[in-house]
């Protein structure tokens, strides 16, 4: 009998045994691990797993839940909200809230360790998760610190500060690890930052390259600013992870809103490369191409929504595509080798555009800019919540919101600063789950959520689609929901203690397909009930 125990011990990572991520699986379609924010580098959040499928999802059963009980109110945040997509590596789930990292046993939901950071400032709006390289995890404090933590113990290895929180830079993103690069972005609005993306050495944290989101003196793009000074404070945060095409060796990143946020009179012009999709060389950080989805943004329309990489046939020809459903309500499908638009069209009702320019970029209507007496246009059509693309259905899934607000210009100075304006929403917005055909941008189906209170503007459910013809997400009222991916029929739901708040993940473990998602302060883990599992395995 002893040999059997010894053998098992050698096969499984026992307690104390180093948990090391096999870097050769990173970037492959995720099945037994979820080693990056999006699972792989495409941003599709699609799983080929189909043990759980449209015929048996109704018997999904909660296996465990883990509630964050050791953190109370944080400044400005009354209860913890898990916005992080967990990483799943060798049976351990790693996830975060601002200032805290958790490692939880994926089989039982038992806490293995936690790590706490004491910040010296920074915005506590959320933390979206971790990056992992071999045994190391990368976590961001809100005050611009990158912290490298041992995944086995939660012990800190090193810390590096990449920006100054007193200049109102803050950090919420999940670092993205690609080969020997740790890519980290920043946010900030209150004091007009100059956005940047930085690549760090995974061992030392040393800076490999830094890409500024606005051009400097004499650089291409500076002609879209009235002055170098305006560009130096022009915004363009990089506060969500991006995607990566290994064949082109390009990373794709969405850049944030322009600064000052609502007051555009001091920065006339398109304001590159804010509110854009940019393609950068992984090893040098050099810009390959850009596409500006929200030229001269004056509505806080961060363009940080995931640029999802898709390989599909268009008119009979295989194409390398990139699709994004943007916060300004615009849906684009681009050729990701060169940034040329194939589809460029609204996916919600909107009134701020006068059409598209010759590149397919929307043309904003100046009459819809915030004004002193008020100007009505849409509220954010989506935000950081993860979309999903299913190659099985050819549909791009996005949790959208349709609402209208009055936008006011408050700072009428010729040199405005900060937000410089505000918005006042009219009634409540309506949440829709939309399934967009990538060839047309039209919704093949959509589900309108009944809700008296509308959709919150910066919190919302992420999406996951699977080869089991399923889409996992939630509403804004505490229901975790599975839909049929092809038709949008509700097939399962579970009443959680809060609204679904992160990107769901799925993976195989011990012969069972698991689905893990978060709602508020709690992580929930599901598999099929035993009878359905037996049938699925027959």
């Amino acid at each position: 009998m002893r040999w059997w125990i010894v053998c098992l011990g050698a096969l499984l990572p026992a307690a104390g045994h180093a948990n090391e991520l096999d870097m050769t699986i990173v970037g492959k379609p995720p099945t037994t691990a979820w080693p990056t924010f999006n699972g792989d580098y495409t941003g599709q959040r699609f799983s080929s797993l189909q043990q759980i499928n449209d015929s048996n999802v109704a018997s999904l059963q909660l296996q465990w839940s883990y509630r964050i009980a050791d953190v109370g109110a944080q400044r400005g945040a009354p209860v913890p909200v898990i916005k992080a997509t967990p990483l799943l590596v060798n049976g351990t789930l790693y996830f975060t809230i601002p200032n805290n990292v958790y490692a939880v046993d994926a089989r039982t939901g038992a806490k293995l360790w936690s790590y706490s950071w004491v910040d010296q400032g920074g915005h506590l709006v959320g933390n979206r998760g971790l990056g992992m390289y071999k045994s190391w995890l990368y976590f961001l404090g809100p005050d611009d610190w990158v912290i490298c933590v041992d995944s086995n113990t939660g012990k800190e290895r090193w810390r590096k500060q990449i920006a100054d929180a007193r200049l109102q830079y803050f950090t919420t993103t999940a670092p993205l690890v690609i080969k020997d690069h740790v890519l980290v972005g920043v946010g900030g609005d209150a004091m007009d930052i100059r956005g940047f993306l930085v690549s760090l050495n995974p061992d030392s944290g040393d800076i490999q390259w830094k890409w500024w989101a606005t051009p400097g003196a004499g650089e291409p793009g500076i002609e879209t600013w009235p002055s170098v000074n305006a560009a130096m404070h022009g915004g363009g945060g990089t506060w969500q992870p991006g995607t990566y095409d290994p064949e082109l060796n390009l990373i794709y990143w969405g850049t944030g809103n322009t600064n000052p946020v609502f007051a555009g009179q001091g920065r006339k012009g398109a304001n590159l490369y804010t509110t854009s999709i940019v393609a950068l060389d992984l090893d040098s950080g050099k810009l390959a191409w850009h596409f500006q989805v929200s030229p001269h943004d004056t509505h806080d329309w961060d363009n940080t929504e995931m640029p999802v990489l898709i390989n599909a046939d268009i008119e009979g020809r295989p194409r390398k595509l990139l699709a994004q459903a943007a916060r300004n309500g615009w849906f684009v499908v681009l050729d990701r080798t060169n940034g040329k638009a194939l589809v460029s069209t609204p996916y919600v009702k909107l009134n701020w555009a006068k059409g598209v320019d010759k590149r397919g970029q929307p043309i904003p209507d100046p009459a819809k800019e915030p004004s002193v007496s008020g100007s009505m246009t849409i509220t954010s059509a989506t935000n950081w919540m993860s979309p999903s693309y299913s190659p099985a259905t050819g549909l791009f899934y996005v949790n959208a919101a349709e609402g209208v607000a009055i936008y006011y210009l408050l700072d009428t100075d010729a040199r405005p600063s900060g937000y410089g304006g505000t918005l006042s929403s009219l009634g409540t917005s309506t949440r829709f789950l939309k399934a967009l055909d990538i060839r047309t941008g039209k919704a093949r189906w959509q589900h309108e959520y009944p809700n008296l209170n509308g959709a919150p503007s910066t919190l919302g459910p992420g999406l996951l689609s699977t080869a089991g013809n399923l889409v996992f997400t939630g509403d804004d009222q505490g229901n975790l929901i599975a839909y049929s991916a092809d038709q949008g029929k509700i097939l399962w739901h579970f009443r959680a203690s809060a609204a679904q708040s992160n990107g769901p993940i799925t993976y195989m473990q011990d012969g069972r397909q698991w689905v893990v998602l978060a709602a508020g302060d709690t992580l929930y883990a599901y598999t099929l009930a035993p009878a359905a599992l037996n049938r699925a395995n027959q």
Binding site: R75, G76, A77, P78, G121, G122, H123, L124, P142, D143, D164, A165, R166, L167, Q168, F170, A190, M191, N229, H233, D300, N351, A367, V372, S373, G374, M376, T379, A405, I406, Y408, L410, D411, T412, D413, R415, P416, S417, G418, Y419, G420, T422, L423, S424, S425, L426, G427, T428, Y449, N451, L452, N453, P456, S457, T458, L459, D475, Q477, N479, R495
Partner: protein, 281 residues
């Protein structure tokens, strides 16, 4: 000297609860402002949430304003946003300063090699007051919880009057429910609430009729999602009904004509009507 922005014309209270949940400076339509409460508490909450550092000392800032105006404004602009000299609100030295900790010493020595004179004749206290004045400018910019709307009443009341008589008087009356609206609400609230009133009173609540093969219910809707509806019936008793197959839900919205305005109303009609309603004191 009051800074030009944010303005002083009217008060725009930001609701800390909505801000904390929603992030950007969004005013949720469901809440009504508490009369004329100053936005100070919300400002403090936003300050903490954003991590804006220690608050400026308003008294010291007030003392610093004339000192700044006399000594600094010529080069750095009246609001310290830059003129011939650089912007001081973006200055790292200022942003990293706490109550004069760095600005004080800096002013004493100046930076003569770059044309910045020393202000050694000012007292330590005066230099600290100048630092607080600068921090107040930064506070006014960075802390959106303290933002106040400027005078928004730029519409034409006569055009607003004809819109109202054409579109509103079927349901509303100038001598009845519309009278005195401007006394109840500040212009910025008047503008949003005449378009979409808050559902504060029960006559504005959404009601529903729910029918199943066995029974039917009617009442004010407390909650509705894809799976259940919760009603308060006339008896005051809340009832939760599962939205199973065969259960039909019919919603009635007494504010439906207002909902239809959202997205259909033009900006000019909006500001003209607001200007007109403001005259109905």
């Amino acid at each position: 000297m009051r800074p030009k922005c944010p303005g002083v014309a009217s008060r725009l209270a930001l609701f800390s609860a909505a801000l904390l949940v929603c992030g950007p400076a969004v005013l949720r339509a469901q809440a009504e402002p508490s009369a004329a409460a100053p936005p100070a508490r919300s400002g403090q909450a936003v300050r903490e949430f954003l991590g804006l550092g220690p608050p400026p000392d308003p008294e010291a800032a007030k003392r610093g304003a004339p000192i700044y105006a006399t000594n600094c404004a010529f080069c750095h602009g009246p609001l310290a946003r830059g003129a011939e000299g650089p912007s001081l609100v973006y200055s790292e030295l200022v942003l990293e300063d706490e109550h004069g900790s760095r600005v004080g010493e800096f002013l004493k020595a100046g930076r003569p090699e770059r044309g910045m004179p020393a202000f050694a004749t000012l007292s330590d206290e005066q230099r600290k007051d100048v630092a607080e004045f600068l921090h107040q400018q930064i506070e006014d910019i960075a802390n959106r919880g303290t933002y106040q709307a400027r005078d928004i009443l730029l519409g034409d009341p006569r055009k607003g009057a004809s819109y109202v008589s054409e579109h509103c008087l079927g349901c509303h009356s100038l001598t009845g429910d519309l009278q005195g609206l401007a006394q109840k609400w500040r212009p910025v609230d008047l503008q949003r609430y005449w378009i979409m009133p808050p559902r504060k009173t029960s006559d504005r609540a959404i009601t529903a009729t729910v029918r199943s093969p066995q029974a039917s219910w009617q009442g004010r809707v407390l909650e509705i999602d894809d799976f259940r509806i919760v009603l308060v019936e006339d008896s005051g008793r809340p009832v939760a009904i599962a939205r199973d197959a065969g259960v039909a839900v019919e919603l009635h919205d007494p504010l439906a004509p207002h909902v239809a305005l959202i997205g259909a109303l033009s900006d000019s009609d909006m500001i003209n009507v607001t200007a007109y309603l403001e005259t109905l004191k």
